[in-house]
Amino acid sequence: MKRSLAIGLRLWPVFFLLACAKPDLDLVRGMELKQQIERDRGSVVIVNLWASWCKPCLGEMPEIVAASQKYAPWGVKLYLVSTDIESNWRDVDRLTQEWGVNEGIFVKGEKDTPFIDGLGADWSGVLPTTLLYDRGGKLRKVFEGVVTRRDLEIELVRILEEAKP
């Protein structure tokens, strides 16, 4: 018992550092995100803009993730773009893990005006917002506010049916 306590006391700085470590998240500028979507031509891309404190965002996310996973074999990609500030990044990391999303996770890396202008999606800044891009990289649908799995799937199927790979 005493030995365990002694080891614990020696290791506390390690535990402390691990607890304080910031998650390794990809910061993205609006223009970079737009370029990434252009590089993804051939895939249908869902971009969801969210924040860890935004209750409607958290409410819709399991449905968005489920829809994207269902159609992933047909070339659907999901990018989750958090607008959180650095102090919330641990929440971003925890939530994305809870949703089972391991890739395509970004954090907004610049101020609102350049980010929105750079993305060039005519996004009003509303959270949550889901953008749907077709296989040609063209923005096809903007869902401002909460989107249901049903509405998202209707649009996904419409786009997928248009141009099969």
């Binding site: 005006t113 800044g125 509303v126 401002e144």
Partner: protein, 198 residues
């Protein structure tokens, strides 16, 4: 075939209508519409009209972005009103969707935060629709003629006040009062969606 094009045109308008908002230079809509203020009286935007212009803020109680900007906005509106600009805050959120945005909560919030301007209920979200307002907070600044001269954000950093570099609204008001053209008349910001009445 012609019928088909008509249907496509209507569908196209519907698809892209979500991006619509009042444009710079356009006249203020529904200026005379009466809205319930937190003092229990009905009030229109026309009744708060300032000789130098009018600031309309779509706001609410629950949104973290509104809360983050609130102290700065209240301070700024005090200064703005002294310059002859009328100020009004409009809550277009349906309280059935967000309980925190109900009328009683509005009264409490205004008292707690020291609002020096009317805070009114846009029942039916009619003004929000007429302005094309999508989120809170969202700023619309009109000149004395009633034309939109600034649309967008309060400043360039909602969540980190110490990191603000550009005070968009303050600068726009300064230009308006000085009779100059507003240098940055349209800015962007992230906010909470307006939970419109259905």
């Amino acid at each position: 075939m012609k019928q088909g094009w008509k249907v496509l045109t209507v569908l196209g308008l519907f698809v892209f209508s979500s991006a619509w908002a009042l444009k710079l230079g356009e006249p203020i809509p529904m200026k005379e519409t009466k809205l319930l203020n937190i003092d229990g009286k009905e009030l229109s935007v026309a009744e708060v009209w300032g000789e130098k212009g009018t600031l309309v803020v779509f706001s609410c109680n629950h949104c973290p972005y509104v809360k983050a900007w609130e102290e700065r906005l209240v301070k700024l509106t005090d200064e703005v009103q002294k310059k002859g600009i009328g100020v009004i805050a409009i809550n277009a959120n349906d309280p059935k969707q967000v309980k925190e945005d109900g009328y009683e909560a509005m009264k409490k919030r205004a008292a707690q935060k020291g609002y020096s301007f009317p805070y009114v209920v846009d029942k039916g979200s009619k003004l929000a629709r007429a302005y094309g307002a999508k989120k809170t907070p969202e700023i619309f600044l009109f000149n004395p003629k009633g034309q939109l001269v600034y649309h967008g954000a309060i400043d360039d950093n909602a969540l980190a006040p110490k990191k603000v570099e550009k005070r968009y609204l303050r600068d726009a008001v300064a230009d308006l009062v000085a009779g100059k053209e507003i240098k940055m008349a349209k800015t962007r910001s992230i906010g909470c969606s307006i939970k419109k009445y259905k």
